[in-house]
């Protein structure tokens, strides 16, 4: 069982999708419960990973599975090559954890074509899990594109008024990025074959050892970096995010925020940075600048939003700025902060989107000006909202603080000191926009009669929020649970990047293809 | 002595006539026949060159072309009839639905 655990976990939702396809479309309750059960079982299947102590000991890949898949002699070979290490572990866990919550959140929210919705959700889960565990670049690319399609339909079919625009924007934006990445993947592969390096399909571990001339590295890094930067999203490639978030159904927003955005940051950590360490050094100042701009810019824009969901979307831009800054610090604290902040963002922002969904379901509007005084009618909701708000602000004791603090500390210790100082001021803005929004929605007297008869959270909604709140405090108080499994993998990654930088200098000859690109 | 060049020239003339017909005639059936003419000029080339080179491949191709031409005739004529039922015309200038 353990030998096939990862595959089983990844493709179980796909299996579930097939089951869902055979359920009559009128039977909404059965469709929903099937999806819920499938996602829950997937979560249970992933649990052994979280409890496996092997990650605390070794930073390498575990639960490896390897099968040859497509093999056309020397020209093209790709393998089904998967595995998980301390870096992807928590993202896998986050995915399996957030999916049942997302399914539960659709209980009353989705009424048209439930069958299609659930099938796409399950397909999406397979895509996400696959992308996190792929150790073959080509396989990664397949899963990467696989995620795009269900999300496109989730936004385009079940979205709000402007859903077509948002869905197309999301799709084209991401597709442009991924095509660039595809070109780069193919280039690296043929470069590797021509240089005669021992390859194993598109296996990244072999790529890690590849010495790529610096001129080519810049272009390749740009292609990868661009693609991932769109997904993160980094300023100024972020404008698809507010649209996609605002239009997407609640479950879509939650998954988009919690998992899909992490693909970008994960892509940096797993592919763009370790594959092209030399180019990375050149681009770090630029990327760090963009991250910091993202933090300040996202906060300032979020502050003035009139739509709660858009506000949360822009706050994502700011939060992911912290993630990126931490990662680019290239030291243990920064990396750990960035990685943890990915999880935090998944938990906190996912929860915020759920919260927006709760009030949207009740009032069918998300304009801040429509609300006010909700705390009178919805005390439980007020408490939950408050906790999540402060977690998003990064109050010490909640998850947000640990991630932000470590990211800043890492940046401070590396050469990014001034970036860190500017980024730290982001904590002020975070308080401004979140509290201002909270005040306008929850505090004051009820002025809008439509708010008079709002009901407090139902049992289902409380059940959705409780696990998220648990993690808010767990990560805040005892983050070592997560760090102890991340640390070896991060250490290995950092060491490897360091040694690669040395190795790159003393490389051999440049093959033809690279010479074309070596513009220096 | 009639050489392979004569066949070639004849085929070229037939092809040119066919092309000219396709480009200038308005009646769909005439255009259709012009296409057949072009196909046959090609067939002629195939056979002539096959004989000249002593290779049977060309003649086999001709059978293919004839088969395809027959199928094409069946489909094409059916389309023309369907079109005529709609428009009461087989003038090719009325076939302009597929535009901006």
């Amino acid at each position: 069982m353990a030998d096939y655990l990862l595959s089983f976990m990844t493709f179980f939702p796909l299996l579930g999708m097939l089951v869902v396809l055979f359920i009559p479309r009128e039977n909404g309750a059965l469709l929903k419960s099937t999806a819920l059960v499938v996602t829950l079982i997937t979560f249970v299947l992933s649990l052994p990973l979280a409890f496996d102590d092997v990650f605390t000991v070794s930073g390498g890949m575990h639960y490896r599975e390897f099968y040859e898949w497509i093999n056309i002699g020397n020209y093209f070979q790709m393998n089904y090559n998967i595995g998980v290490d301390g870096i992807s572990l928590w993202l896998v866990m986050l995915t399996t954890f957030i999916m049942p919550i997302a399914v539960l959140s659709t209980w009353n929210a989705v009424d048209k074509n439930i069958k299609g919705f659930m099938a796409l959700l399950l397909l999406l889960e397979t895509g996400m899990l696959g992308a996190f565990i792929s150790l073959d670049l080509f396989l990664f690319y397949i899963f990467w594109e696989l995620m795009l399609i269900p999300m496109y339909f989730l936004i385009g079919i079940w979205g709000g008024k402007n859903r077509i625009y948002a869905a197309v924007k999301f799709f084209i934006y991401t597709a442009v990025g991924s095509l660039l990445m595809l070109v780069a993947i193919i280039f690296v592969y043929y470069y590797a074959i021509q240089s005669g390096a021992p390859m194993n399909g598109f296996g990244i571990q072999e790529f890690y050892r590849l010495a790529i001339p610096s001129g080519a590295q810049y272009w390749l890094f740009l292609a990868f970096g661009f693609s991932f930067a769109i997904k993160v999203p980094m300023f100024p490639l972020h404008t698809w995010l507010p649209d996609a978030h605002t239009e997407a159904p609640t479950a879509g927003s939650v998954i988009l925020a919690a998992v899909l955005l992490k693909m970008g940051t994960y892509g940096y950590v797993r592919f763009a940075m370790p594959l092209f360490p030399e180019a990375l050094q050149t681009f770090i100042p630029m990327l760090a600048t963009l991250s910091v701009i993202g933090i300040i810019y996202g906060s300032l824009v979020a502050m003035m939003q009139e739509d709660v969901k858009k506000l949360v979307a822009y706050s994502s831009v700011a939060h992911l700025g912290f993630v990126m800054l931490g990662i680019f610090a290239m030291n243990m604290q920064g990396m750990a902060g960035g990685m943890l902040q990915m999880i935090n963002h998944g938990v906190s922002t996912g929860a915020l989107f759920l919260i927006v969904g709760f009030i949207y379901e009740r009032r069918h509007t998300r304009l801040i000006s429509e609300f006010g005084g909700l705390a009178h009618k919805m005390p439980i909701f007020a408490t939950v909202f408050l906790i999540i708000t402060f977690s998003s602000i990064g109050l010490p004791g909640t998850n947000g603080f640990v991630g932000e603090f470590l990211a800043l500390m890492g940046a401070f210790e590396s050469g990014l000191r001034w970036y860190a100082v500017v980024a730290t001021s982001g904590v002020i803005f975070a308080a401004v926009y979140m509290l201002w929004m909270y005040q306008r929605v929850m505090f004051g007297k009820i002025t809008n009669p439509a708010n008079e008869n709002l009901s407090d959270l139902s049992a289902r909604e409380i059940v959705i929020m409780l696990p998220l709140i648990l993690f808010v405090f767990w990560i805040g108080v005892y983050p070592n649970t997560f760090f102890e499994k991340m640390n070896p993998a991060m250490e290995q990654l950092l060491n490897q990047m360091e040694s690669r930088q040395v190795a790159v200098v003393e490389q051999v000859e440049q093959p033809v293809m690279a010479k074309y690109l070596d513009i220096k | 002595m009639i050489s392979v060049y004569h066949y070639m020239i004849l085929a070229a003339i037939l092809f040119a006539i066919g092309t000219f017909g396709v480009l200038t005639r308005k009646n769909t059936i005439v255009i259709f026949m012009c296409i057949e003419l072009m196909l046959n000029s090609v067939n002629l080339t195939f056979i002539a060159l096959s004989r000249h080179l002593g290779n049977m491949d060309g003649q086999i191709f001709v059978f293919f072309v004839m088969t395809v031409a027959a199928a094409e005739a069946a489909v094409g004529l059916a389309l023309i009839i369907a079109f005529y039922r709609n428009k009461e015309s087989i003038d090719v200038d009325d076939f302009n639905l597929l535009k901006w």
């Binding site: 924007k169 084209i172 934006y173 100024p236 972020h238 404008t239 698809w240 300032l300 824009v301 502050m303 003035m304 939003q305 243990m332 604290q333 750990a336 005084g373 705390a375 005390p379 109050l395 010490p396 004791g397 603080f401 640990v402 603090f405 470590l406 800043l408 500390m409 401070f412 210790e413 000191r417 100082v421 730290t424 904590v427 002020i428 308080a431 401004v432 509290l435 201002w436 005040q439 929850m442 505090f443 004051g444 108080v477 005892y478 070592n480 760090f483 102890e484 640390n487 | 092309t19 480009l23 200038t24 255009i31 090719v92 200038d93 076939f95 302009n96 639905l97 597929l98 535009k99 901006w100």
Partner: protein, 654 residues
């Protein structure tokens, strides 16, 4: 020996969780109140045990690590606690005053809808504050540091249906966050600065031990301490970040007493005390601290002159007194600063609770008469001494104490500060002068407050006049205890020149002595000078009291004439020198404008404009190209022929 430190913050946390989760079901106010009060009282007992243990112990610094918090690379942060004289005094103040205020709240908050919520928050506050003072490293301190900010937010916004309360709560948190930004920057710089010398630590004890690695008076240590001081100005309401504290009076009165007078706002002072060695290393920062403290003391006192809301007077008084404490820290009188912190906690808590008792009574009267007048406006009071004798006497004693009348607590602490301001190696006579003037002003506005509230004829609406009762026992008992402490609290620090033993000075020796010795911070001067200074400050205090009584009791028409004569000045003072408006103009509105511009102007037009622009360009190009699709078969056929000719021609002739 000390393995139960963690219990001190633990009890209030438990209390908070119980009341927060189950309070709504319990409903019974007595039970809820008891849980809250007992939780903090239990902490008080543990604190006492530790405090007296420390008194009798030779070793003065104890650390206790409960668990590891974060372990990443060279960063190792524990959930650890530190007991030394400084934190021992602080926990005594927090739990002691805290217990009294919890008790008081049972009576004061009686009948409120969110009774359980209030006690839950109050306990949570105590938990945070205790984490702040007990944390053995800067990060645990920061938990408390922000935690008290959170509780302050929650408690100021307790009456959340009032817009002013919501605004004040948000303002408090955001302004505190600006300070926290400074704190974080300082923390990160310090960690890195010490780390680059080979000591990666955030532990206070280790920081003190290794501070000498940094260059004394160097840029780095100045930057670090200035950053920390920015944090302190936010939390302790000093210039330029003091504006949130007066607004914070929107919270219930016990909150004002506990958070905005006795404990939370003193966190900045405590923090400087905790890092005294770093501050001592940077004379520049010390000077800044002293100047800001003195400026705040006199500035806030001036605003206190013209306020009519009883709680606002006390709020500005708090800001002013905090200024004193910073003045003390800035001139190196660490002991005196903490001493004043302690006495201030007693008398200011008593004053706030007294004002709460008055408001409670006034509210009762207005409620009885079905009036909606402002129960906090002193112009509606007067002559309450007879109606509320216990409140009156306790309030009076505390006022005498704050005014600096000899033999009362603040006399000793304030005089110690003024003496250091004058005679310390880091002091200056200018600082002393400002301090003395502010002391006189304090005496004046506090007695103005007493005169308007308790003395003279009663100006309350006649209908409500006779229905202002003395408050119940749960309210008056804390008042009596606090008033007692306000009177005698100073005797732990009677200076040597008055024949005292100055116990507190010796008690704090292990914490502050090292830095003071190392960087030669001491107050020196002739005994005659000391006596003279003391006499001057006493005289100034009595002058302030005299003028207040004369103006507001003997000649009640005088203040009116004054305001008429200097109407511009009065308006400026009454409107708090328009600082809030200035900040709105300078920071708040521009930020909003920038935000709006970035969104509507930049994000939507420029960034998204480029994105949509790309789409439009593609669309435009294809709009042009689609005209090639004419739909005419002949055109397509001709194009094909031409294409074939061109391609074949290219290969044949090209």
């Amino acid at each position: 020996m000390y393995n139960n430190l963690w219990l001190i913050p633990f009890f209030p946390l438990v209390g908070s969780i119980i009341n927060g989760l189950l309070g709504k079901k319990i409903k019974n106010e007595k039970v809820i109140g008891s849980i809250g009060t007992l939780a903090i009282f239990a902490s008080f007992l543990v604190a006492c045990q530790n405090f007296f243990g420390l008194l009798g112990s030779e070793q003065k610094v104890f650390q206790e690590t409960v668990a590891s918090w974060m372990t990443i690379g060279n960063l190792q942060v524990d959930w650890g606690f530190l007991l030394d004289p400084l934190s021992a005094v602080m926990i005594m103040v927090v739990t002691g005053v805290g217990s009294l205020i919890h008790l008081y709240s049972i009576g004061y908050m009686h009948g409120e809808v969110g009774f359980y919520r209030f006690f839950s928050y109050l306990n949570l506050f105590c938990f945070s504050m205790l984490m702040l003072v007990l944390g053995n490293n800067a990060l645990v301190m920061f938990i408390g540091w922000e935690g008290v900010g959170l509780c302050s937010y929650l408690l100021i916004g307790y009456y959340f249906e009032k817009k002013s309360a919501g605004d004040a709560a948000k303002k408090a948190f955001v302004v505190n966050r600006i300070g926290d930004f400074g704190f974080l920057c300082g923390l990160l710089t310090l960690f890195w600065a010490l780390g680059s010398k080979g000591v990666w630590t955030l532990n206070f004890v280790e920081i003190s031990e290794n501070a000498h690695l940094l260059q004394s008076g160097g840029l780095l240590v100045t930057v670090v301490t200035l950053c920390f001081f920015l944090g302190a100005t936010g939390k302790s309401a000093q210039i330029p970040l003091y504006t949130w504290l007066p607004d914070a009076m929107e919270g219930p009165t016990p909150v004002s007493a506990l958070i905005h007078a006795a404990t939370m706002v003193t966190a900045g002072v405590y923090m400087i005390g905790r890092m005294n060695i770093l501050f001592a290393m940077s004379p520049t920062t010390m000077m800044v601290v002293a100047i800001v403290g003195a400026a705040t003391a006199i500035f806030a006192a001036s605003i206190g002159f013209a306020q009519n809301d009883i709680k606002r007077v006390l709020a500005y008084s708090t800001v002013s007194q905090l200024g004193y404490m910073f003045l003390a820290m800035g001139v190196g009188a660490f002991t005196a600063g903490i001493f004043h912190l302690m006495t201030h906690a007693f008398f200011k808590a008593c004053l706030f609770l007294g004002s709460g008792s008055v408001i409670h009574g006034m509210h009762h009267g207005y409620h009885h008469a079905h009036l909606h007048d402002d129960p906090q406006d002193m112009r509606n009071m007067g002559g309450l001494a007879k109606k509320m004798p216990i409140t009156y006497w306790t309030f009076l004693l505390s006022t005498i104490a704050i005014a600096g009348v000899p033999l009362f607590s603040a006399f000793f602490s304030k005089d110690e500060i003024l003496w250091w301001a004058f005679g310390s190696t880091r002091g200056h006579w200018g600082l002393w002068l400002v301090g003395v003037i502010a002391a006189g002003m304090t005496a004046f506005y506090m007695f103005r407050c007493v005169s308007m509230t308790f003395w003279g004829p009663q100006k309350t609406d006649p209908k409500a006049k006779d229905h202002i009762p003395e408050s119940p026992l749960t309210i008056t008992i804390p008042l009596i205890i606090l008033a007692f402490l306000a009177v005698v609290g100073g005797y732990v620090g009677v200076p040597a020149i008055l024949g005292g033993a100055n116990h507190i000075h010796h008690f704090f020796e292990p914490v502050f002595g090292h830095a003071q010795e190392l960087y030669r911070i001491e107050a020196h001067g002739a005994h005659a000078t000391e006596y003279a200074l003391m006499a001057i400050s006493v005289l100034v205090a009595f002058a302030g009291i005299g003028i207040a009584i004369y103006m507001y009791l003997k000649k009640p028409e005088l203040p009116g004439k004054f305001t008429a004569a200097f109407s511009g000045l009065h308006r400026a003072v009454f409107n708090k020198w328009y600082i809030d408006e200035l900040y709105d103009f300078l920071f708040v509105n521009p930020t909003k404008k920038i935000g709006t511009f970035l969104w509507r102007g930049f994000d939507v037009c420029v960034v998204d404009g480029v994105v949509n622009g790309t789409a439009w360009v593609v669309k435009g190009l294809s709009a042009g190209l689609r005209f090639t699709q004419s739909g005419f078969l002949h055109n397509y056929a001709a194009a094909m022929v031409v294409g074939v000719v061109v391609i074949v021609g290219y290969y044949v002739f090209g």
